[in-house]
Amino acid sequence: MANVTFPFPFPEHLIALLPEMVVAVMAMFLLLFDLFIPKERKVLTAWLATATAIVAGVASLQVMGAGTMVAFYGMFVLDPFAVFSKVLICAGTALGIILSIDYMKDEANVGEYYVLMLFAMLGMMLMVSANNFITMYLGLELMALSVYVLVGYQRDTLRSSEAALKYFILGSLSSGMLLYGVTFLYGVSGSFDFKLIGDALADGGGSARAATLLGLVFVVAGLAFKVSMAPFHMWTPDAYEGAPTPITAFMSVAPKVAGFVIFIRILVDALPAVQQEAEMILIWMAVLTMAIGNLAAIAQRNIKRMLAYSTIGHVGFVMLGLIAGTSEGYAGILVYLSIYLFMTMGAFAIIILMRREGIQGELLDDFAGLSRARPGYALAMGLLLFSLAGIPFLGGFWAKYAVFIAAVQAGHVYLVLYALLFSAVGAFYYIRVVKYIYFDEARVAFNFNDSAVMQATVVVMTLVIVMLGLYPDPLMGLCASAVAGLI
């Protein structure tokens, strides 16, 4: 404490925070800007928010230096890994905003909705650049707090408020667990910095082992909640069902990226000394997650709820990359999350389009006969669902391939066989939706509100998935180079 000298040196490499600064300033600007534009032109706020997300993604690419850049006295790190995940997060947010434009236009206070999405994105960007528990936790809370509000945005519908309340209470509890774990790790290492904790535990882990393990368990539990791993998944179906559909899409993608990235950082930098134990915990959680996600999804009649369980199932598959604990595994996680982003956004875009007069368009029955009414959408939805199921030569296949191969190389053959089994179970409920679309009679008239933006989103997402399915090498290469400096 006493060695702080004044004037304190000006923070180095401030440029590394340029994307975050752009987002923070633009979010605050939009908060004010929105007050001064009339209600019928609120769409301007949405487009400015989209532009901010895109600019932030591009800026992240621009500021990336040759290696690792550390700013704010070691509180913030910018490496290729962080940059890649930031681009994913920005893409997820931009798509989430685009999906919202039509859906939210009749809601009250729609301007703040986009501002909160930007703040959530800011939190995630800070989170993936964190190399210590302080920045990580603050980024996490910024993200979580914004998302709680977004989930409850349709406050006049009961299920939205209920979802937000459940998510908020369980989320706060999990933040408490995370912090409790962090205090134990601080207690044994005297530092919040991931690398310093790793160093302190590497040579002196022995006598403080029990406390370290307790810290590990609580940190893993807290983070597992955020990425909805079983048995910390209980909030997911309710929150996904109650949230406005674009927010469901957003929160099934972007926070998962941030959560897994910080998971990787903590496991690699802070807790390599207890990797064995972490692996064991993760294996059992993965076994549970895959089973619960894929089995419970079969029983769902509401497609948002079904996709919520499907997210849990996918999280189980992504965990294989964590369990592998190798560069290939971590690269596989990035591959998985990137492809998952496109699949999910495309599928949710179609679900949003299904909303029509008097019908939410969320029940599986509502999809019956879609192929005769709108063959284009039916084809796109079919491709996206096949991809989610992991049918070969669509994007989703390569996502699974990347993590499965990494896990096999790390010696977890039985776990991968188990994952393959549940992958097959998962295929059942995805393909059941395709059955509704192609082989069932339409019960309600389709009356699509064809907004050009939504159509373009569906087309682009589907094309990306098909193209990634045919030619996944560039993405795989990119992900491999993103994690290159990590271990």
């Binding site: 404490m1 702080v4 707090l145 409850g152 044994v188 006598s207 403080a208 082992r209």
Partner: protein, 194 residues
């Protein structure tokens, strides 16, 4: 000697009042116990020469947060009997988890730095070290980024709370300031021939 006496007093009372928070039947009593618990925690902070943290705890948590809690609880109508439904049903699971956690905590707190006389690790800096100034020095320099993010979190909390509660009611009367400013004499005054 005197120090450990105070330590056990504050620590013991903190534990007792924390138990009270959970066990009290009346929610209001729980809040009171929580306030008492905060006072004891503040006492522990003072014993560690962390007078700034101790005072902040009382000022912010007791003075602001808990008072707000009380208002909220007074406004809510809470049926404690209903809350306690199913208590026995969940008791076995809860008890097993609590027991497992207790064993873990005891095990963890006997290991490593926690075991080597925990009080010895808290150094006494003496009166020449100004606690508040030292915190300020690191808060606005080394931890500046965290400080800034915390500021944004507060902004989000503010915006979120307003967004979720503000609703324009048709039947409520509002001031239209521009209409008031733009009002002309002719609108309000009417010359009446007497």
């Amino acid at each position: 000697m005197l120090e450990s006496l105070f330590f056990y007093m504050f620590g013991g009372l903190a534990i007792v009042s924390a138990m009270g928070v959970v066990l009290a039947r009346n929610t209001m009593h729980s809040v009171m116990f929580l306030i008492f618990c905060f006072f004891n925690a503040a006492g522990l902070f003072l014993m560690l020469d962390a007078e700034f943290l101790g005072i902040i705890l009382i000022l912010i948590y007791v003075g602001a947060v808990m008072v707000l809690f009380m208002f909220v609880i007074m406004m809510l109508e809470i049926n404690t009997a209903k809350l306690r439904e199913g208590f026995l049903q969940y008791l076995p699971t809860g008890a097993v988890i609590a027991l497992a956690l207790l064993i873990e905590f005891v095990g963890a707190s006997r290991a490593g730095v926690f075991s080597q006389g925990a009080k010895a690790t808290a150094e006494h800096f003496g009166r020449e070290v100004n606690n508040t100034m030292e915190i300020g020095k690191v808060l606005y320099t080394k931890y500046l980024l965290g400080f800034e993010i915390a500021a944004i979190i507060l902004l989000v909390a503010l915006v979120g709370a307003i967004v979720l509660t503000l609703r324009t009611r048709k039947d409520a009367k509002y001031q239209n300031i521009s209409a008031q400013v733009n009002v002309r004499k002719e609108d309000r005054l009417r010359k009446v021939r007497m």
